[in-house]
Amino acid sequence: MKDVKVLGTGCSNCKNTIKLIEEVAQEKNHEITLEKVEDIQKIMSYGIMSTPGVVIDGVVVHAGGVPSREKIAAWFI
């Protein structure tokens, strides 16, 4: 089970990212816990400069823009 956090202040890109991750994880039957991090201080503690950011098991795997479906799929192998 993977612990996924989506970092973002709640703009449409962040919402789309969350939706896409949920979809892909379900398609691949991968169990995840998905958490939305909207607090700016917490977001900054991951050291990213553009949102949305995606953190999996504590590691930043993506920052800036909605990740592509292919990129997300590669996280859940």
Binding site: C11, I48, S50, G65
Partner: protein
């Protein structure tokens, strides 16, 4: 279709770019005959108000969308050379002056979304980019962007687009420089000042040409996919005004003679928020009806550069006094631009 395009651009990227350019140019040539043909098929007289409005709509909509797609694609590829991290590394440790200009220019080419304004701001300050230089970047990034410039070019020609570029950069450079001179570092929220300093390093990701083409497609998908309804709606409104509202309707209260129109336009524009795509057709309509160019451009800059939602987000990192300074300095800058424009043109 998408997969096929991607595969093709992956194997022979240069060939792909050349052929894409030729197809684009071909389509562009077809715009006028196509729009005339469509209107002549409709049961309206070309010489009536409605006919004129329809022709304007059927010509302008594909033209603007075609231009936008082309330029956003190219900018998507250019953007891939300028990640925020690299921009930060270029600006870190410089003192104000030339760095303000550099920051404003980088603001144009670095990919930026207004929801990233705060992380970017903190990231810059944390790495030792001076406050004023950070502001130059933050003012230029939303105001001078490829969408605004393309639309200005498509609707008013390259002279106005170029003027907007030069004036937008000037406002960003001078406002940032002034804020830098005011030494307001202690008006950042405490938690921001207490964050550990970080070393600015640029990730030296080398991207291949096919990957950059891919980035171009991504931006078209993201940007054009998002703004096209605004553009269509805006052009429709513009077409209606072209056809129906009497000429010089706006001249009495947005013309050159009305000195108070510039400050009024700036003040009305501050709390308003829409992206460049939403505002340009309105500007188009205002100009067509006799509003002065300086007044209209000042209105546009104020709407795009300063907005209530952005201030609410920035409030999390800036104390009230710094936000107020930021708004006033930029507003005064835009005001000057408006007056200068109205007096020289």
């Amino acid at each position: 279709m998408n997969r096929l395009l991607l595969k093709w651009s992956g194997t022979t990227p240069r060939m792909f770019l050349i052929i894409a350019l030729l197809i684009w140019l071909g389509l562009y040539q077809l715009l006028v005959p196509l729009s005339e043909a469509i209107v002549s098929l409709l049961p309206v007289d070309r010489e009536t108000h409605l006919g004129g409005a329809l022709q304007f709509f059927f010509y302008d909509t594909p033209k603007v969308l075609l231009l936008l797609t082309g330029i956003v694609f190219i900018m998507g590829m250019i953007n891939s050379y300028f990640t925020p991290e690299r921009t930060r590394a270029i600006l870190a440790g410089r003192s104000k002056g030339a760095a303000n200009l550099m920051a404003a220019l980088l603001g144009v080419v670095t990919p930026f979304c207004s929801c990233s304004a705060v992380p970017l701001f903190i990231g810059f300050v944390q790495a030792g980019v001076p406050l004023g230089v950070t502001f130059s970047f933050l003012i230029a990034a939303p105001m001078v962007n490829e969408v605004a410039l393309t639309l200005l070019f498509a609707m008013f020609g390259w002279k106005i687009a170029l003027l907007y570029l030069a004036l937008g950069l000037s406002v960003a450079v001078v406002s940032g420089w002034v804020i830098g001179c005011l030494n307001m570092e202690n008006h950042l929220e405490d938690w921001v000042r207490n964050m550990p300093r970080v070393q600015a390093t640029a990730d030296n990701m080398k991207m291949s040409l096919p990957e950059r083409i891919c980035k171009g497609f991504d931006s078209v998908h993201e940007i054009v996919g998002k703004v096209w309804p605004y553009i269509v709606a805006g052009i429709a409104i513009g077409a209606l005004i072209h056809g129906y509202v009497p000429q010089d309707f706006m001249a009495s209260f947005m013309g050159k003679e009305a000195w108070w129109s510039v400050p009024l336009a700036v003040i009305i524009g501050i709390p308003m928020y829409t992206n460049a795509a939403g505002i340009i057709p309105i500007i188009d309509a205002l100009l067509a009806k006799g509003a002065a160019l300086g007044t209209a451009l000042a209105f546009m800059m104020s709407v795009i550069a300063l907005s209530l939602p952005e201030m609410i987000i920035l409030r999390k990192v800036l104390k009230l006094k710094l936000i107020a300074t930021f708004i006033s300095v930029v507003a005064v800058g835009i005001l000057i631009v408006g007056y200068v424009f109205n007096s020289v043109l």
